[in-house]
């Protein structure tokens, strides 16, 4: 066992921790180039119509105002609509900021003020006067349901539901039935850092763009395409990202307008959205799901029927996978599902942490709890009873599924066996106590990713890839991976991320970064090791013991030093000396990790998921409608865990967001104007310290050599999947009351 090198699987503290706790980590709105201008955006108060008149005379009188950019005076941008399609690739007609006079959603930017100071830009933005011609709009989800449709072109990651057996007939014949309509309120991502961009116009006219994004290369491609800039003119940085949860998957309007302003004014520009403006772009779609489950009295599922609708805008067809999860995860001979989207005059809904599964898994797991009770069966036993060892929807084997172990170990840790079955049976003073559980499932994805490994004369190993660490711990796990792959202490490893010029890496999201970037770094380090050994073998002035060691295969790399034998004496060679012997300042490789032939075949033949079992205790003051979560346990089966400390934090973090989803979070749409009205942190309630109890996360052993080269599945989303259901099911157990609408806020 190597004790100095910091291996995969150890609980290493974050290597970016020092920068973050000292305030040195630089986020998108924080570089300060000379001559920086501040941009403040003016938004439309109407949902649909067009700009009839725009007056900026008063605004221009504010000292320090440099320019007010609108659709009338903006510089040239790309001619064709398809040039504005961003990395997420939502089918439809992408929104083009300041393109023309037409208004397509409330909060759409209509002007941006650029000024020498933030204060001047902020004031002038208040003085821009706009008259609108209002057109009829619909922002009401219920009304939009009447126009629900299936788009002809779907999002590339859309999984069409697949029926089996005859679900309606089996449902009709089932002795035990439950059915209900579930509703999820729209939610906003609300990362703590508001979306922001600083465009630095360099002396040679190129743009260095600091943007809050999950994909610097995706934003780079978008800007060059949409603004008709040549690719080598734009470089995008995002070394630190203050949370995103999906809001940084699309290029938001701040980056477009900042770059457009820089193009117009040839000056560096900073645009930071306000918190209310954070409610004018992406959000988790509002959803309804109808679920009907039939079972036999012994607790065997006979039929599953799921219908779901999520909202989208009038101009893009956003889709989620909400209806398939139960069909995949449960054994049941008859199942069918349908999915459509409902258009309304808002901005396009988009992916928010565990998109689709957050809605679909949680509602399905609430329905499973209900049918377990209808069968008078413990909900855990019911799930074990209907456990599927395959992807039941596609009838495909799985690379691994340790959900059974997760359920058993989670239940034991929680003390589930002591649970009385009857709802409302545990009382303490004014509070009813309830225990609920649910399972979770999420894709375990792997995408081709490249990484560079470079050994330099100072003996340090430099790793680079265009991944983004949005708080997920990517810096740290990649350092651990390099440390193990190159047998070098972690403090001699530098990780560079968040720069569009680095080796190609897909946009951070969907929990695939650990598996994909990890594999790329592993591969690059392996190849670099080979390259070093080959160079030593070929070199001219190499000591005999090294050559001999290479020939006899007993030259080893440990703790960042080459070890060999010289006439029965142990002898070592540092990287510094090795490089100097081969006459190089540095050795470098760039490698791309792909699934490979075996992996590609496996991806076609086997389904790939992460699983979890969540257990929750709530205390409910039923009279006052107050729910307190007092215990949460999540047992996660996610393949190999690269860093239990940061991985557990990711799972806990998602559970906090799920607690918000279950109890507080709801963006309140005033359909009369198409605006989410509680557009701030005082009235959109994300959980605070006081809402969150101690949470236990267990990682269940799950060896999976097929899922990805390192056996890693990723843990960014799984904490969202099932947690809200476990909370809702615990509330049922406490009170005997089924809530099918989330959030379950006081008084509901």
């Amino acid at each position: 066992m190597n004790v100095i090198s910091t291996n995969i699987g150890q609980s290493v503290s974050r290597i970016d921790g020092f920068a973050k706790v000292t305030g040195q980590a630089k986020y998108a709105a924080e570089p300060h180039p000379p001559g920086l201008l501040y941009g403040v955006i003016v938004n439309s108060p109407i949902a649909r119509g067009q700009i009839a008149a725009l007056r900026d005379t008063e605004a221009r009188k504010i000292p320090g105002v440099v320019e007010i950019m609108t659709h009338r005076n903006r510089p040239h941008t790309a001619l064709f609509e398809k040039s504005y399609v961003d990395g997420l690739g939502v089918p439809g007609s992408p929104y083009r900021p300041l393109h023309d006079a037409e208004i397509r959603f409330n909060g759409q930017p209509v002007a941006i003020v650029f000024a020498e100071t933030f204060e001047a830009a902020r004031e002038a933005a208040m003085l821009v006067e706009v008259d609108y011609e209002r057109w009829p709009h619909n922002a009401d989800f219920e009304a939009a349901l009447h126009q629900k449709y299936m788009p002809s072109k779907t999002r590339s990651n859309y999984v069409p539901p697949k029926s089996r057996g005859n679900a309606p007939e089996a449902y009709a014949l089932s002795p035990v039935k439950v059915e209900g309509r579930y509703h999820l309120a729209p939610e906003h991502h609300n990362p703590m850092e508001m979306h922001a961009t600083t465009v630095i116009v360099e002396d040679d006219g190129t743009f260095t763009v600091w943007d809050k994004t999950q994909g610097p290369q995706s934003v780079q491609a978008y800007l060059t395409s949409a603004l008709s800039l040549s690719g080598d003119k734009v470089r995008v940085h995002n070394p630190y990202v203050g949370g995103a949860f999906g809001s940084g998957l699309r290029a938001q309007y701040n980056v477009f307008l900042a770059a457009l302003g820089a193009k117009m004014l040839k000056r560096s520009v900073r645009v930071t959205l306000t918190r209310p403006q954070m409610f004018t772009h992406v959000f988790r779609p509002e959803a309804v799901m109808d679920i009907a489950l039939g079972a036999s009295p012994d607790g065997t599922l006979q039929s599953m029927i799921v219908e779901g609708v999520t909202d989208t805008s009038r101009f893009e067809h956003n889709m989620e996978n909400i209806v398939v999860w139960g069909l995949i995860n449960y054994k049941c001979p008859n199942a069918t599902a349908g999915y459509t989207i409902a258009p309304r005059d808002t901005y396009t809904s988009s992916d928010m942490r565990a998109p689709g599964a957050t809605t679909g898994v949680n509602f399905f797991e609430m329905a499973i709890d209900e049918i377990a009770y209808a069968c008078n069966m413990d909900p855990l036993t019911f799930r074990l009873n209907n456990y599927s060892d395959t992807d039941a929807m596609h009838d495909m084997p799985l690379t691994s599924k340790a959900l059974r172990e997760a359920m058993v170990q989670g239940a034991q840790h929680f003390g589930w066996h002591d649970r009385p079955m009857a709802p409302g049976s545990i009382r303490d003073g004014n509070e009813l106590i309830g225990w609920g559980m649910a399972t979770g499932i999420w894709d375990a994805m792997f995408s081709p990713t490249s990484a560079r490994a470079r050994l330099t004369a100072d003996g340090r190993l430099h790793i680079a890839t265009a991944a983004s660490d949005i708080g997920t711990g990517t810096y740290t796990i990649l350092a651990q991976t390099a440390s193990e792959a190159f047998s070098t202490p972690i403090d001699r490893i530098d990780i560079e991320l968040g720069d569009s010029t680095l080796p190609e890496c897909p946009t951070e999201g969907g929990s695939w970064t650990a598996a994909s970037a990890g594999a790329a770094v592993w591969l690059a380090c392996q190849i670099l090791r080979e390259k070093l050994f080959k160079a030593l073998a070929k070199g001219k002035n190499i000591p005999a013991w090294v050559k001999q060691g290479l020939e006899q295969d007993n030259l080893t790399l440990e703790d960042g030093i080459l070890h060999g034998m010289n006439e029965n004496q142990k002898i070592v060679l540092s990287f510094q000396d090795a490089l100097s012997l081969i006459g190089q300042d540095a050795l470098e490789v760039e490698e791309t990790a792909k699934p490979g032939l075996r992996g590609t075949i496996s991806q076609m033949r086997k389904a790939r998921f992460t699983h979890s079992a969540v257990f929750c205790e709530v205390r409910v003051d039923q009279e006052l409608g107050i729910v307190r979560i007092t215990r949460l346990v999540n047992a996660v089966a996610a393949g190999r865990i690269m860093n239990p400390k940061t991985a557990a934090s990711q799972v806990r973090g998602a559970m906090v967001m799920a607690a918000g989803m279950a109890l507080h979070e709801e963006s309140l749409m005033d359909e009369r104007v198409g605006r989410f009205m509680n557009h701030n942190f005082a009235e959109y309630h994300i959980p605070a310290h006081a809402d969150i109890p101690d949470m236990d996360v267990l990682f269940v052993e799950e060896k999976d050599s097929e899922i990805s080269p390192l056996g890693v599945k990723g843990v960014g989303e799984i904490g969202m999947c099932g947690t809200a259901a476990a909370i809702a099911n615990a509330i049922f157990h406490a009170t005997g009351h089924r809530h099918r609408n989330l959030p379950i806020s006081p008084g509901s």
Partner: protein, 168 residues
């Protein structure tokens, strides 16, 4: 007196250094720190006093710097996250945050740490519940709340050990 363009003298002690300049009165302490002094460790998460990311100490007390006009606190001593470890030696709270994994994205972190340092001085650290209540002005969307409470308890325990050590 009523010239809206008139700048106002502003004089502050920021992390032990004197800052003096004439400023428009509309400049908040937060924007002064971030945009005019390049002290970007103090974060803007809402600009409305609703998230706590901009927490700094003014005269030793924690405040939300987004709701303070820079000119309205003449000669005040301001401590930001940059002033917590002036010689590169981490404050025990900063060290504890790293060890307890009390952050993910790091954006609310300076505010959480400044708030936690003040919390210790206020003495509201008798239980995890009390820590939670008195830290609730600092939101964390990554959900690092467990780790933050752990970090604070760790520093409280250290302090108690030190006091006991001194007494003995």
């Amino acid at each position: 007196m009523n010239d809206v363009s008139a700048d106002i003298p502003c004089r502050l002690q920021i992390n032990g250094k004197t800052y003096a300049a004439d400023l428009p009165p509309s400049v908040t302490l937060l924007d002064l720190l971030r945009e005019r002094l390049d002290l970007t460790g103090t974060k803007k998460g809402c600009d409305r006093g609703q998230c706590g990311a901009c927490t700094v100490l003014v005269a030793g007390k924690r405040v939300k710097s987004c709701l303070v006009l820079a000119v309205s606190i003449p000669d005040a001593e301001v401590t930001t996250i940059e002033g917590l470890s002036p010689n590169g030696q981490l404050h025990p709270m900063q060290q504890a945050f790293i060890e307890a994994d009390a952050f993910q994205c790091g954006y609310c972190t300076p505010g959480q740490i400044m708030s936690a340092v003040a919390l210790l001085a206020e003495g509201h650290t008798h239980s995890r519940e009390e820590i939670r209540e008195f830290m609730s002005g600092n939101l964390c969307r990554c959900g690092a709340y467990n780790g933050i409470v752990d970090a604070i308890e760790q520093v409280v325990a250290q302090q108690n050990r030190n006091h006991t050590g001194e007494a003995a």
